[in-house]
């Protein structure tokens, strides 16, 4: 790797692989930052690709950088479901890295769709979360009632932890939209 430009032109096959990967990621809702981190394609090409696939320009602005989002009730359930798949695949299949994330995310989407729920966790969030785990900012906490593992802040005490599914908050799932749908 001498200069960025030369590396980019090195292999047509690698570039084709990256384009295929980028298209798949954009279709799953990936943000531009994710594409830049995971492929060797230039920003201009990614922009063009994004517009071609989605028909609109990618959203601007920074990626979410707080781990707090994963702690509120609904996001925590969704994040924990994704992590359950992600960790299962890591333990029992040969998938690694981005492939592991994409597969876990597809399994997550499938489950959410079957349960008629909203897709709360975006691919970009899922990808960010895996990076938070790698950076030891998040950990899995074991619920002492059901034994399931749930996303929690790193270094939080996990003794006596009870998950949001064993002890649902009284107002959980009672959104304005749910009320409107029932009416």
């Amino acid at each position: 790797m001498i200069s960025g430009g030369r590396v980019r032109n090195k292999s047509v096959i690698l570039e084709a692989r990256d384009i295929r990967l980028a298209v798949e990621l954009v279709e799953l809702g990936a943000r531009l930052q994710l594409l830049e981190a995971e492929t060797k394609l230039s920003r201009e090409r990614l922009l063009k690709l994004y517009k071609e696939v989605r028909g609109v320009s990618p959203p601007k602005g920074m990626l979410p950088f707080s781990t707090d989002w994963f702690m509120t009730w609904q996001p925590n359930i969704h994040a924990s479901l994704f992590m359950a798949y992600y960790r299962f695949l890591g333990k029992h299949t040969g998938l690694t890295g981005l492939e592991q994330i994409i597969k876990a995310y597809r399994m997550y989407l499938e489950q959410v769709k079957r349960g008629n729920m909203d897709t709360v966790l975006s691919l970009t969030r899922a990808w960010t979360m895996v990076r938070f785990f790698d950076a030891n900012m998040l950990q899995m906490a074991t619920c002492h009632e059901c034994g399931g593992e749930f996303v929690a802040h790193a270094y939080d005490p996990t003794k006596g932890y009870v998950c949001g599914l064993c002890h649902m908050p009284a107002r959980a799932g009672k959104t304005r939209r749910a009320a409107a749908a029932a009416a």
Binding site: I77, S80, L81, A84, Y85, R87, F88, L89, H92, T93, G94, L95, K103, R106, M107, Q111, V112, R114, G115, N116, M117, C146, G147, G148, E149, F150, L165, G173
Partner: protein, 105 residues
């Protein structure tokens, strides 16, 4: 129920199970490993079974698929109708993912 009926039913279930498991493994290996609760090694075996082998295996007088949920909580989550179905299934999936898979000894 007569014993010949039971035997035929078992055969039928075995055949359906093996055919379903094989097509699941062939279509989506990683997903099948989770849904079937088997190791990749068993997935490989299933993938390679010939139709003849599947037929021979299914005519055994014991069921080839195992009862997977030795956990009352998981069982309740899947069988319970009171809760919102989607949430119960999500909880079940989280617990199931933490379980060991069947592997060849």
């Amino acid at each position: 129920m007569k014993s010949t009926d039971t035997y035929n039913d078992i055969k039928e279930v075995n055949l359906s199970y093996l055919m379903l498991a094989q097509s699941m493994v062939r279509a989506d290996r990683a997903g099948a490993v989770f849904k079937l609760g088997i190791s990749e090694e068993i997935a490989d075996i299933l993938d390679r079974l010939t139709p003849g082998q599947i037929l021979k295996m299914s005519s055994s007088d014991m069921l080839l698929c195992n009862f997977r949920f030795d956990d009352t909580l998981l069982l309740n989550l899947l069988a319970n109708h009171e809760r919102e179905r989607g949430v119960g299934h999500v909880h079940a999936a989280i617990l199931a993912a933490g379980k060991a898979v069947e592997a060849v000894a």
